[in-house]
């Protein structure tokens, strides 16, 4: 896929800035506009910029973890934060505030709503990544059929990890017949990884 120099350079500039902004939203969120969901959406926007530039490969290279790991642990963190006060004898979702006065920094406020928001943030990002995994591949393939791959117009250093570490997306996207296992073989299962690898 031929990449445009302008897009490549702008994405390179925009991606980290939007990510920082999304982190700001995440941390400011507990009593100002923002929060985990909004932050996650902003981060997803940044990821979609990478998709525009480098396709699903670039999206995969942005995160070391698998999309479903991010999504699942985000949900687990949020739910865990909701339950935690119950272990201490409080109500579900009850929250507390901690005000610290470390030297030089003045007052630092930490709320227990933050882990909840971080969970939501991870959930939204995980979902965005899974959407690109699910629907992004087709577009990539189609584009490659139209234009044979050429060297990128830029020489941006590939500093990310190799792609071979990725589990194929088809693990999540295979078309296992959920109903009639009789049709798919004597033991009713297929190797999901091999479906459309």
């Amino acid at each position: 896929m031929r990449r445009s120099l302008i897009v490549a350079v702008s994405v390179r500039l925009l991606y980290p800035s939007i990510m920082v902004l999304s982190l700001y939203f995440l941390f400011a969120g507990h009593n100002q506009p923002g929060g985990g969901f909004v932050g996650g959406l902003a981060a997803s926007g940044a990821i979609s910029l990478r998709y525009v530039n480098g396709g699903v490969q670039a999206v995969r290279r942005s995160f070391r973890l698998q999309p479903w790991t991010i999504l699942g642990s985000g949900l687990a963190l949020s739910v865990g934060t909701a339950i935690f006060p119950m272990l201490l004898g409080g109500a579900i979702l009850e929250h507390g505030t901690l005000k610290l006065h470390p030297p030089l920094l003045g007052e630092v406020k930490a709320t227990s709503a933050l882990p909840f928001d971080i969970g939501v943030y991870a959930l939204v990002i995980g979902l965005a990544l899974m959407i690109f995994e699910a629907f992004g591949d087709d577009l990539d393939d189609e584009l490659e059929m139209i234009e044979p791959p050429t060297t990128p117009a830029t020489s941006i250093r590939e500093e990310y990890r190799p792609l071979s570490q990725h589990v194929p997306a088809s693990m999540w996207l295979d078309d296992d017949e959920a109903d009639d296992s009789d049709e798919s073989g004597p033991d009713g299962r297929r190797n999901p990884g091999a479906v459309d690898a």
Binding site: W68, T69, L71, G72, S73, G74, L75, A76, V79, G80, A82, I83, M86, G89, G90, A91, I92, L93, E94, H95, V167, M171, W172, D174, D175, D176, E177, A178, D179, S181, D182, D187, G188, R189, P192
Partner: protein
């Protein structure tokens, strides 16, 4: 009375859903997590039922914010009864699904989505806040969209489209109704609404009452709004259809019961309208069923018919009527889930679910025949089945309220249901398989020795539902006593309101 157990039936499945997503690659761990979470849910629900029956209403304020401000979770006797029934069915159907597809054969996305569905169903029963009810419905619906189309066959996608569009329309109406309610009263807390709605003018109250019946009627499959149901349910994978048939429409019925009895004062309750709708729903459901040949479609029309009975009981707005509905709704959930699980077994055993094609199951798999006979008699309401006890209670309440015509309709529909069940029995269980199609009918060599009916787990899960519905009629006395206490609470909303606002008033 406050209890820490209250939010657990929502939170636990969600936590398990998160874990099953993370451990997606380890299928065995996924199955164990899902089974453990739903098993624990059954225990918690039973504990909640015992507690609720002890003290009347158990509540918890989310985040420690007191009632009109925060979101309250409320478990009264009706909620607790629904929770126990739904958690049992969710567990049984999961066992059945594992039996059908093997521990490793289930789609990797099934468990997380199924658990989210479980959380949504529990949340609908537990929440004491209208907006939270909307969120719970959305959770349930979003999960059901995926479950309905899991597998991605083209007929599933087509039926899924109808389902998604009608559900989205209903949700849009629901959120609009909520906005109107909020602008009229300034609250969405159910207990608070129950105090403020009586202050509204007559017309506005009636409008809200009808609007909410419309919104939940779409989910429940009431008379003019049921058309999507027999179209979409049968295309889903077997276990999914069973859980949809057993639970989802009943969540709609629960919401109708809850809002009509709690929010509206007696003078704006739509008794006559509900009776007419209930009667029409019964008649249309059973007539639709008579015309069907496919087992799953036929049973889907019966879902609609059964909903009619519940609406009829509610429409009476007497303690006896509402108690009978509470008793009846649990019975229907058991029976409906059971019938759809059997339909799945028939499909697997014979390779077809068309009544005119399959035949002779009594000889080739007697277990399936027994498992079908019990719930079929129950659906038709023949003594000594649990359906008889439920229908008897409903008709008794109808006679007591002197609504003769609806009692007559209910009896007629019962007769037609029996006819429809005998049609299935005579066709699929006694009759000869359609000639020339024998290859489809039974696997080679299974004729001499009767088959056990299917994989052991599937048969065992179906057996559990059969056992439960038999136990339901054996213990009908104490259970009806419980239902009566639930019905008394429902007809006296101040119990619920006082429990939500606590002792500080």
């Amino acid at each position: 009375m406050s209890s820490a157990l209250v939010p657990l039936p929502i939170v636990l499945p969600l936590l398990a859903a998160a874990l099953t997503v993370v451990f997606g690659r380890f299928r065995v761990a996924q199955r164990i997590t899902a089974l453990a979470a739903l098993g624990a849910n059954v225990g918690i629900s039973i504990a909640l039922l015992v507690r609720a029956d002890d003290v009347g209403v158990v509540t918890m304020d989310a985040g420690g914010w007191a009632a009109p401000l925060g979101i309250t979770y409320v478990v009264d006797r009706l909620s607790a009864i629904m929770l126990v029934t739904s958690s049992l069915m969710l567990l049984v159907v999961l066992i059945y699904a594992i039996g059908q597809q093997g521990v490793k054969g289930i789609h990797v996305g099934f468990d997380p989505i199924y658990l989210v569905l479980a959380a949504g169903v529990s949340a609908s029963f537990i929440t004491g806040d209208m907006f939270n009810l909307f969120v719970a419905f959305e959770m349930m619906l979003a999960a059901s969209y995926v479950l309905l189309t899991l597998g991605g066959r083209s007929d599933q996608i087509r039926a899924g489209m109808t389902y998604v569009v009608i559900s989205l329309a209903a949700s849009a109406l629901f959120i609009t109704a909520l906005a109107l309610l909020y602008s009229a009263t300034g609250t969405v807390n159910m207990a608070d609404l129950a105090e403020r709605i009586p202050q509204l003018s007559d017309g506005v109250r009636t409008g809200f009452s009808l609007l909410l019946i419309l919104v939940f009627g779409i989910k429940a499959g009431l008379f003019p709004l049921f058309f999507w149901l027999p179209d979409s349910y049968p295309t889903a994978p077997g276990p999914v259809t069973a859980i949809f048939a057993g639970l989802l429409t009943k969540v709609g019925v629960y919401a109708i019961i809850r809002t009509q009895t709690l929010l509206f004062p007696p003078e704006s309750q739509q008794g006559t309208a509900l009776l007419v709708i209930g009667g029409l729903t019964m008649v249309v459901g059973v007539l639709g069923a008579l015309a069907q040949d496919d087992l799953k479609r036929l049973l889907s029309f019966h879902i609609v018919g059964q909903i009619g009975y519940m609406i009829f009981g509610l429409g009476l707005f007497t303690v006896a009527g509402v108690s009978a509905v509470v008793f009846y709704i649990v019975q229907t959930i058991l029976v409906k889930t059971n019938l759809f699980l059997v339909a799945g077994l028939v499909d697997r055993h014979t390779g077809s679910s068309r009544v005119s094609v399959v035949g002779g199951i009594v000889r080739s798999a007697p277990v399936i025949a027994v498992f079908f006979a019990v719930p079929a008699l129950s659906l038709a309401g023949l003594p000594p089945s649990s359906g008889f006890a439920g229908k008897f209670a409903l008709l008794d309440a109808g006679v007591e309220a002197q609504q003769w015509w609806i009692v007559a309709v209910a009896l007629l529909v019962s007769l037609l249901t029996l006819f429809s069940m005998t049609k299935i029995w005579a066709g699929a269980f006694w009759g000869e398989p359609e000639s020339g199609d024998r290859a489809v009918i039974a696997p080679e060599g299974s004729e001499p020795r009767p088959s056990r009916g299917g994989p052991p787990l599937m048969v065992a899960a179906t057996g559990i539902t059969v056992a439960l519905s038999i136990a339901y009629v054996v213990f009908a006395g104490p259970i009806y006593g419980l239902a009566e206490r639930a019905g008394t609470d429902l007809m006296n909303p101040s119990v619920y309101i006082d429990a939500v606002f606590g002792s500080d008033r």
